[in-house]
Amino acid sequence: MSCATKLLAYCVTLGPGPEIPTIGVIGAPVRTVQFQNLGCVYSPLIPPQEFSQEDALRFHTVLKSVFDQQAVIPFRFPTILQNETDLQEHLRAKYDVYSGDLQQLKDAVQMELRITAKPEAVSGSSGTDYLRAKQQSSRALGAASQQAKIALSDLILEWKERPTESGLRCYALVRRSDIARFRRQLEDSNVSGPAQLLLSGPWPATEFLHD
C-alpha cells in the first residue's frame, strides 16, 4: 500500500476556473487544473483506508459551492486518480463529450420528484386481485407524474422517469432562473393520489449527460 499523494476529483467545468473553497475532503486543499477550456476541480490527498460519511458530505459542500456558480459535471464520490497527468489524459479523452454537454447544459439544473405509492397489503387475495391492485398503484403513480409534468410544462426543458421499488423518480431539466417558479408551481398544482411527493434540487444535470 503506497503512501503517495493521489488526486480526488470533484467535477468538470467550462471556462476559466471557478471560485473554489480553500478546504476540501479530509482537510485537503482544493485546486483546479485546465485542459483547453475545460476546468477540473480536485484535491491532492493521501486517501484514507476508508472514507467516512462526513467526507462524502464535505465532497458535496465543495461540489455545491462550484455548482452554485455554474454548470458542472460531477464525478461520483470517491473518484481517485494517480496524478494530474492521468487527470489531464482523462480530460483530453473526454473533451468533446464534456465540453459539448457543459455547453448545452450551461444554464440548466436538474430538479427531482420522488413519487411514492401507499404500500398495499395484498396477501390472501386472488392472483387477479393482486395484479389489479398493482395495476391500480402503477396507474396512480403515472397519473401523478403526468399531473406534475403538466403543471410544470412551461418550465420543463426535458423530462425523464425511472421506476423505483416504491414508486417513480422523475428528473426535470429546468433553467436555473426558473427554480423558484418550479417549486411554487409544483406546490400550487395540488397533485393528488400517491402517498408522497418529494421535491429535491437543484442538482447538476447528471441525468441529461450524453456520455
Partner: protein, 77 residues
C-alpha cells in the same frame, strides 16, 4: 396554498431526509472513471451503489428489448 403531500428537500437542508438525498447523489450520480482507484466508504451501505447501476441497466435493457417488439404500445417518457 401548498399541496398537502408535496415535501421539498434539497442540497441545502440538513434534516435526515436531505442528508440521505445528498449521499444518494454524491455516491450514485456523476461520472465514473474506469480504472480509477477504489477506496471504500464506511458507514454507508456501499453494496447498493452498484445495485443502482444494475437496476438502471437491466431496466434500460428491458425497455430496449420492448422497443423492438412492434406490438408494444406502452412507452415510458
Amino acid at each position: 396554498m401548498a399541496s398537502p403531500n408535496v415535501i421539498a428537500i434539497g442540497p441545502d437542508a440538513s434534516d435526515e431526509l436531505s442528508l440521505l438525498d445528498i449521499l444518494d447523489h454524491v455516491l450514485n450520480a456523476g461520472v465514473v472513471i474506469q480504472g480509477s482507484i477504489v477506496i471504500s466508504i464506511g458507514g454507508v451501505d456501499l453494496i447498493y451503489v452498484g445495485l443502482n447501476v444494475v437496476l438502471t441497466s437491466v431496466e434500460t435493457a428491458l425497455r430496449t428489448i420492448e422497443a423492438d417488439q412492434p406490438k408494444k404500445l406502452d412507452r415510458k417518457k
